[in-house]
């Protein structure tokens, strides 16, 4: 029997997480490279229609792993459901999206099984029969190819956007669906989660912005935010920031771009003094044009920039504001 790749699908309130399709695409690519069989499992209190949605993709089999105790999500219930399931199915490789939920339970799951997770991968290579996973290190300054040195099952998670969800291939016919009732003992769930909520009503919707001027640590002081604001105003764009700026309270949280903030895709993204940590990049790499100003020529933001200006933003921005104003006035 060939080895199996098992993709664990994430759902919220009956909807598949978009990142799950990306993991299916990743699984299909690894299956094509290795000749292994691809299967997928949806884990939920009631999987319902979701299983057939997954079974329509090019997978050999879809599982619906169900227990009323899986809702609301807790790491204890998820590990109690998945450990025996994975032990029984014996996949070679278990893939998941690197979501906040997966980050919460997959290290526990792997540890409970005496295994390891290669987390937050951006790709894979199959070289001379050996499978290696590529992940970013040192905040994206380097990439590392990482291999497993343990017995199966191997666990790996993929970064948001590492694969294209819309490239997940459909199957020629629907794959069979098997429902697995997870047995979760009564007293094992220790955490009591409450309702999910949004802090305040999002005042600023940057997802529709056409031009975004975004500031990072390079702005140095709160009073310098004003300079970026002037540039945003001159361009007719919106002001945004990387996480440290909002953490410092220099701009409100609803102006934060990145994994914990908004994901944007404007025509123009002008990054001022942003180094380009992975958590920020995932929120803006879909921008049509990226201009980056940073004094560090090695800053990872330049990896994804269309136009790179290596220099001090305090030298560059004032004349830029003047030139933009001139251009606008001149028509």
């Amino acid at each position: 029997m060939p080895d199996t790749i098992l993709v664990i699908i994430e759902q919220r309130q009956g909807k598949l997480n978009r990142a799950s399709w990306e993991t299916i695409t990743a699984g299909q690519a690894i299956a094509a490279a290795t000749g292994w069989t691809l299967e997928a499992a949806v884990v939920a209190a009631r999987v319902g229609e979701l299983a057939s949605e997954v079974a329509a993709k090019k997978v050999a089999k879809a599982y619906a792993v169900e227990s009323p105790k899986l809702e609301p999500y807790t790491p204890d219930a998820f590990v109690a459901a998945l450990k025996p399931f994975i032990s029984a199915k014996q996949p070679k490789l278990v893939l998941m999206p690197h979501t906040y939920q997966v980050r919460d339970f997959v290290p526990k799951l792997a540890t409970a099984m005496g295994r390891t997770v290669i987390s937050d991968c951006i790709g894979f290579k199959h070289e001379n029969g050996k499978l290696v996973f590529t992940r970013q290190m040192f905040q994206g300054k380097f990439s590392a190819d990482v291999s497993f040195a343990s017995e199966a099952p191997w666990f790996a998670t993929f970064q948001n956007g590492a694969f294209r969800g819309d490239k997940a291939e459909a199957g020629a016919s629907a794959a069979p669906v098997e429902t697995v009732k997870a047995e979760i003992a009564d007293n094992i769930v220790r955490n009591k989660p409450q309702e999910v909520f949004k802090e305040t009503k999002q005042a600023v919707d940057l997802t529709q912005a056409e031009i975004i001027v975004s500031v990072g640590r390079g702005i140095k002081e709160q009073k310098n935010i004003e300079l970026a604001k002037h540039l945003a105003d001159a361009l007719g764009g919106d002001l945004a920031a990387s996480r440290p700026i909002c953490d410092s309270g220099w701009l409100p949280m609803d102006r934060q771009i990145g994994s914990s903030g908004q994901t944007v895709a404007p025509k123009l993204y002008l990054a001022l003094g942003i180094s380009g940590a992975i958590q920020h990049i995932v929120g803006m790499k879909g921008s049509r044009t990226i201009i980056a100003v940073n004094k560090d020529p090695e800053a990872p933001i330049f990896e994804i920039a269309d136009y790179a200006i290596v220099g001090n933003l305090f030298d560059i921005v004032p004349p830029l504001i003047e030139e933009v104003k001139k251009a606008k006035a001149g028509g």
Partner: protein, 256 residues
């Protein structure tokens, strides 16, 4: 509350990094600093102690240079420190690091263990959760608030896209802390002076060796990422750069 904070020393954010000869790690002759989320974890531990009394203990692993992280923590108000001292700790995977920590604290009774949600070097985002599982404790990740209750704690978890969730859980527990949960304090002069007399326990790798095994994952190679995008460098004086940029904005991007 007796709180342990797991901290890590990482290369400074804007330090230029170079690969070593074998292309498996960075050259170590760079400046280091405390991993930022760990600094927030320490701050939160100190605030909890100020509210509920107790003790704050800090732990790190790494070569002699890593002691700086512990010294700073003691200067800010931590009561004592544990240093798993050996350069080889740097190369451990998350599972082995957590096993080493678990072995080093086996005779202690903590109510709470805090650590940053991930490190700036490896970026595993795993060690805290793995440690919880090894200890058999509950955990919660990416925490933005901790409130002590009669029977345990109530924490605020950050979810994606601006969502949050409160979770009640019993103690002892492990929490991974998100940057920005609080405002960091600076060490005072008196704090720095007092730190010199606070206990710092060194643990050699040999004492812990039986607790962990071979790494279960291996870095085959480390390299500068291949560029996927063609980047045009815009050079000149600030005035020239501004003119060139406006020309691009107007004639190529058509946003002006």
């Amino acid at each position: 509350m007796k709180i342990l904070v797991c901290m890590k020393q990482v290369p400074q954010k804007d330090a230029p990094l170079k690969l070593n000869e074998s292309g498996t790690w960075i050259r170590e002759d760079v400046s280091y600093e405390v991993n930022e989320p760990d600094a927030y974890a320490l701050e939160e531990a100190l605030r909890q102690k100020e509210k509920h009394s107790g003790e704050v203990v800090v732990i790190t692993s790494g070569p002699a240079r890593a002691q700086q992280v512990l010294r700073e923590a003691l200067a800010k108000g931590a009561d004592r420190a544990i240093h798993l001292e050996d350069n080889a700790f740097v190369g451990l995977d998350a599972l082995n690091t957590a096993k080493a920590f678990a072995a080093a604290i086996k005779d202690e009774k903590f109510d709470l263990i805090l650590t940053g949600l991930q490190s700036d070097d490896y970026g595993y985002a795993q060690t805290g959760v793995v440690l919880a599982e090894l200890l058999g404790w509950p955990h919660a990740t990416i925490i933005m608030q901790i409130e002590k209750k009669e029977s345990g704690i109530r924490v605020k978890r950050e979810l994606e896209a601006g969502y949050f969730q409160f979770v009640e859980m019993p103690l002892p527990a492990v929490l991974t802390i998100q940057s920005g949960i609080n405002k960091l304090r600076y060490a005072t002069l008196i704090g720095i002076k007092n730190a010199k007399n606070k206990p710092l326990r060194k643990v050699a790798m040999a004492e812990l060796k039986s607790a962990f095994g071979e790494n279960l994952q291996k870095i085959e190679r480390l390299y500068i990422p291949q560029k996927t995008k063609k980047t045009e460098l815009i050079e000149g004086s600030p005035a020239e750069i501004a003119k060139k940029l406006v020309d691009k904005l107007r004639n190529e991007l058509r946003v002006l």
